[in-house]
């Protein structure tokens, strides 16, 4: 980028995003999709709205092409894509889990890898297969080696997943801070805190050991890891008592109701933070909010397609579809 002009206020980008937001599906359009007779009818309606490309044959193709369109647009607007690592880190660690299990089981399942990642999935696959973890970035290499050894020894898939998730959450928080965007760092912290709290509560309910908690509980700035592990060892009420002393005291009533209520509380909180970005004309925040809005939209469409294919009622699908950004 030497000599190139970099617009740090993202004025052009935000204005373009504002126009692009007009094409996001509204609540009534989602309702129209839910009311469609079957998955084929949903596919036709989305095609009329410009979703997918001519080469798409299935709804999975359509969603992949929309994901591609999203990142192509963002790459045009933001010269340094590393600011959005927050969204791509989970893809890296999903690929790491897949590679560890694939190598251990000596199988090949290329379709389980996601391309929405900061590291080429093939590089992760090769590093794990050849046990050459130096090929990976330093923050991933050491943990990958340990987790791989532990999985080969124990074949405990859950322990492997939780250990990878822990590193992923810590990396997401770091990526959020590095983005220098208030919205992105808040989003990363909130996602990480929600995952940590859920893991702690579930571990307390199932009586997991301290060793498991040490592997599973991520170290994030807004929660005292040791205090949370200790509380999780002593039961759910102790976790709630601890959370009342933290920034997450408002989430306690939802946690008491159950994990679904807590997940809804977290989703609502993130949606509120996203909607705040509609009032911003400058900066990365509105672009990040648009990325999230499109990802949520694609999740909703995926839910509608699978619901239709599996014969779920419209009401059941409607309950699972996320709130819209527009």
């Amino acid at each position: 980028m030497t000599g190139a002009y970099v617009d740090k206020n993202y004025v052009y980008a935000v204005a373009r995003i504002r126009s692009a937001e007009l094409k996001l599906l509204t609540r009534s359009q989602l309702d129209e999709l839910i009311a469609a007779e079957n998955a084929e009818a949903v596919y036709s309606l989305l095609k009329e709205k410009g979703w997918g490309t001519e080469s798409c044959r299935t709804w999975e193709d359509m969603l992949k092409s929309e994901e591609k369109k999203l990142w192509e647009l963002i790459e045009e607007l933001v010269p340094d894509m590393s600011v959005f690592d927050v969204f791509k880190k989970p893809g890296d660690y999903h690929n790491l889990k897949a590679a560890i299990k694939e190598a251990a089981e000596e199988t090949e399942i290329p379709e389980i890898y996601t391309s929405e990642s900061t590291i080429d999935p093939e590089r992760i696959r090769l590093a794990v297969r050849e046990r050459n973890f130096g090929m990976l970035p330093p923050e991933m290499a050491e943990a990958a080696g340990e987790i791989n050894d532990s999985y080969l020894r124990t074949k405990d898939g859950q322990l492997c997943d939780t250990a990878v998730d822990r590193i992923c959450l810590e990396e997401m928080v770091r990526a959020g801070e590095a983005s220098d965007c208030g919205f992105l760092s808040q989003y990363a912290l909130l996602m990480a805190a929600a995952a940590v709290i859920k893991t702690a509560v579930r571990s307390a309910r199932t009586g997991k050991s301290r060793d498991f908690l040490n592997q599973a509980i991520a170290d994030i700035p807004t929660l005292d890891r040791n205090a949370l592990i200790q509380a999780a060892m002593n039961g759910e009420e102790q976790i709630i008592a601890y959370l009342l002393t933290t920034d997450y005291a408002d989430a306690v009533p939802a946690i008491r109701k159950g994990m679904t209520a807590f997940e809804n509380y977290c989703d609502d909180l993130i949606t509120r933070r996203m909607k705040d970005q509609q009032r911003e004309s400058f900066g990365l925040g509105p672009i990040a909010a648009y990325i999230l809005a499109r990802k949520n939209e694609m999740k909703s469409v995926r839910i509608i397609f699978s619901g239709k294919e599996n014969g779920f009622s419209d009401d059941m699908i409607r309950e699972r579809v996320r709130e819209t950004y527009v």
Partner: protein, 158 residues
Amino acid sequence: MASSGIFWAVLGAALAAGCAGAGSAIGVGIAGRAASGVVTQEPGMFSKVLILQLLPGTQGIYGLLIAFIALSQIGLLGGGAQMNMELTKGLMYFAACLPMAIGGLISAIAQGKCAVSAIGLVAKRPDQFGKSMIFPAMVETYAILALLVSILSINGIG
């Protein structure tokens, strides 16, 4: 030294045109970036966003007007320049031009940022174009006040 007034008078005129013009260039430039973003997605929005982009351009015209009035008062336009103008009188011309120079610079940048938000509003809700014009137009008030004070002051000196 006593006759260096002409220098201060010309400096005032130059600042009025230069600062207000620079402010307008920044304001129109920033609004232009936003307008380009909208037109990339929706070419049909060109005429609407063009009007919003031009709003911060008026300060540059006001600055030019003040510079013309000041230069003609001191005789640099149309002949009869007061080359031995007293320092006090020159400084008065200088001070008279300052409201337009400072007010023009700051109000044009602020109006440019406001125009960016208004362009975002039009991009999202094209039917709200009329209302979107009002918000950046409010900033114009303060450029006009600066223009009035500068005109009245320059005429008062003459």
